[in-house]
Symmetry: C2
Subunit: 388 residues, 2 copies
């Protein structure tokens, strides 16, 4: 079967808006809706960490030396010298979703734990390999595994985490666990497709909005979709419910990524923990850039010429370090305002809302416990209104 | 579950023989038994290729561009310029075993095809990653994938083949396919353990016979064991039969590897397609070396001193190219004869026979169709008597 049973992310999209003048837009980074239950979201994330992390640690402890140590460093449990540490291991959104997913099927959250662990293992397998492929030296303010333990260990331990993810599910030996493993495998294939697309984009001057959405759906949507359905599958949900949850997760992932792309240009460094103009520094072909270039008009043309010149400067010399490290702040500000003037910012804000609405629409007509439905709605609201 | 349900390869071993004088040994490279049905073996391998390869090609064709092309290059179906090719894709022993395995369960050979394809995908995933980790630039007389398409593609396409292997099995959606996927996952974990051990041995001056056997069991035994049992699992065999076939495959893999280690030192380049003294050139810590060093006596001591000096010479300078490229033939000949004098050659010959016998003993008391049993015996004979 070439296609997973759920719908791939829609490649159709709303028409691009006409270019707008600068200053015309609401700031998407300011919450429009102050009524979101952020305490509820924090609690959900905390529950995911509390229930899934000990099982994740036990699973990683199965790896033979020195792979167990390298993995523990990656997860932030030890430092490079092997001393216990408690580094930022990320928000752990996926484990939280997997537990909520089990409750969506009327099962206790604990039924989702093997799914939470398996998804988190696949997520970290992809981080280990992507960091090496992309040459990224830092992740969450720490040196990446290949930088500390060498490329061979990054490859090997990534492979081991991927295998372990399948093991965790398949050793349950139930019909449900085999179905869960199948969905995880399909999601992993999409994750790998997304990374292949991301790599190919690096060598291109332009990426269309459709291509950008497809790549982001694969890199971010697929595994979130798996997280939010795998607990339900393990909890005995029927295919229709699991598929609906998967569609919800796909759109949630795309909404999340659209906001990430906005924050990557206009985010507050205090809130995001990234540099100002972060994605512009890395010359990332993100949604606002693709939408701006596709919109046409004078700002889009000027932006296109600037980015082509940037690519030439990059190819000509500064291949070491950040491609734009010799830029001053005014150069980034100019690019950001052209993207905004061409309509790329507003289009991306609207896209995050379309994906948010599509996520909620995916749950229509599916029976879910009221509390679970409320939490899924809150999570979708949180994702589009977050500032960091 | 930390341990797979079948027995890991025995770490116990026969005591080392006393050192023997040179010239005292039969040449293990000369077939002792001319009565092996080599035509039958060739036919079995040919059947594996005929039935499994079209399905393998279709599976690889599922990969998104450019991963499909990179994989096709790796398998030898196209050359580096993308033109159709028909390069040596290896003996394809594993697919042949998987089809025979289905027949062992009384099923038609075709029932083993998804298993044959999945095992071949995992085997090639490991080749892609191992070649990159080990820095090997050539495989089967062609540039390796990382050399032609870059490290990122080698990592990515390896990952994709691994995911595809699980997909091929799990999409069958049967109880048997989930059991098969579970065994494949366990074998893949051992494969990764074996590579981790192999890498760690590179940084050590000495490796014990027990460590060497464990590494070889993981790197060679695990996937052969999976190949020879996965068809039976897909064909509905009970656990006892599948476990017995897995034990057979484990011992077959160790017998194969022992002979490989003999051929790596004393093989005829005409028959093996490798250079003379191939493993000595690479300073490989193979079984004959480990057994010789462990045997003690004057030859073992002289050998140990020589190898320590070699390691020093390697560390001091020639880190590029083969570590022993400035050696002349007499230096290799001296090392080979010391290994033989210390008893390392003879011990490895005996070890290959012990593993051969253990493989056959694993089949005792298991009901198998007569023709299948005969072919399993022939294969085991073939493995220990082969010259290349």
């Amino acid at each position: 079967m070439l296609r997973p049973s759920w719908s791939p992310p829609s490649r159709g999209r709303a028409p691009l808006p006409p270019p707008r003048r600068r200053g015309d837009l609401v700031n998407p980074v300011q919450p429009a809706n102050a009524g979101i239950d952020t305490a509820g979201v924090a609690e959900l994330l905390e529950r995911g960490r509390t229930l899934a992390m000990p099982v994740l640690r036990a699973a990683v402890g199965r790896l033979a030396a020195p792979m167990d140590t390298v993995a523990a460093y990656h997860f932030g449990w030890i430092d490079a010298a092997g001393r216990p540490a408690n580094a930022d291991g990320g928000k752990a959104v996926r484990p939280a979703l997997a537990l909520l997913s089990a409750e969506a099927a009327g099962a206790p959250p604990e039924a989702g734990i093997p799914g939470a662990v398996a998804v988190e293992l696949v997520h970290n397998f992809s981080l280990l390999h992507d960091d090496l492929m992309d040459g990224d030296e830092q992740r969450r303010h720490r040196d990446t595994v290949w930088k500390v333990h060498g490329p061979a260990q990054a490859i090997l331990v990534g492979d081991a985490l991927f295998a372990l993810a399948n093991e965790i599910l398949l050793e349950l030996g139930t019909v449900e666990s085999a179905l869960a493993a199948r969905r995880l495998t399909a999601a992993t294939r999409r994750l790998i497709d997304g990374q292949a697309q991301d790599i190919s984009f690096e060598h291109r001057e332009r990426v269309s909005v459709a291509e950008c959405l497809e790549m982001e759906g694969n890199k971010t949507g697929a595994l979130l979709a798996c997280a939010v359905s795998i607990g339900a599958v393990l909890g005995g949900a029927d295919t229709r419910t699991a598929d609906a949850l998967e569609r919800y997760g796909n759109h949630l992932g795309l909404a999340f990524q659209a906001v990430d792309d906005l924050l990557g240009i206009w985010g507050d460094p205090e809130a995001t923990g990234k540099q100002t103009w972060s994605d512009l520094r890395q010359r990332k072909k993100s949604l606002p850039v693709a939408a701006a270039l596709e919109a046409g008009g004078p700002a889009a043309r000027q932006l296109g010429e600037l980015l082509a010149t940037d690519a030439g400067r990059h190819a000509a010399g500064a291949d070491e370090g950040l491609p734009t490290e010799d830029f001053d702040e005014a150069e980034f500000a100019l690019r950001a305002s052209l993207i905004e003037e061409a309509g790329g910012r507003e289009w991306t804000v609207q896209e995050s809302r379309r994906q948010h609405d599509a996520a909620l629409a995916a749950l229509d007509g599916v029976e879910l416990p009221d509390a679970v439905r409320r939490q899924l709605v809150t999570l979708a609201d949180f994702v589009v209104e977050r500032r960091g």
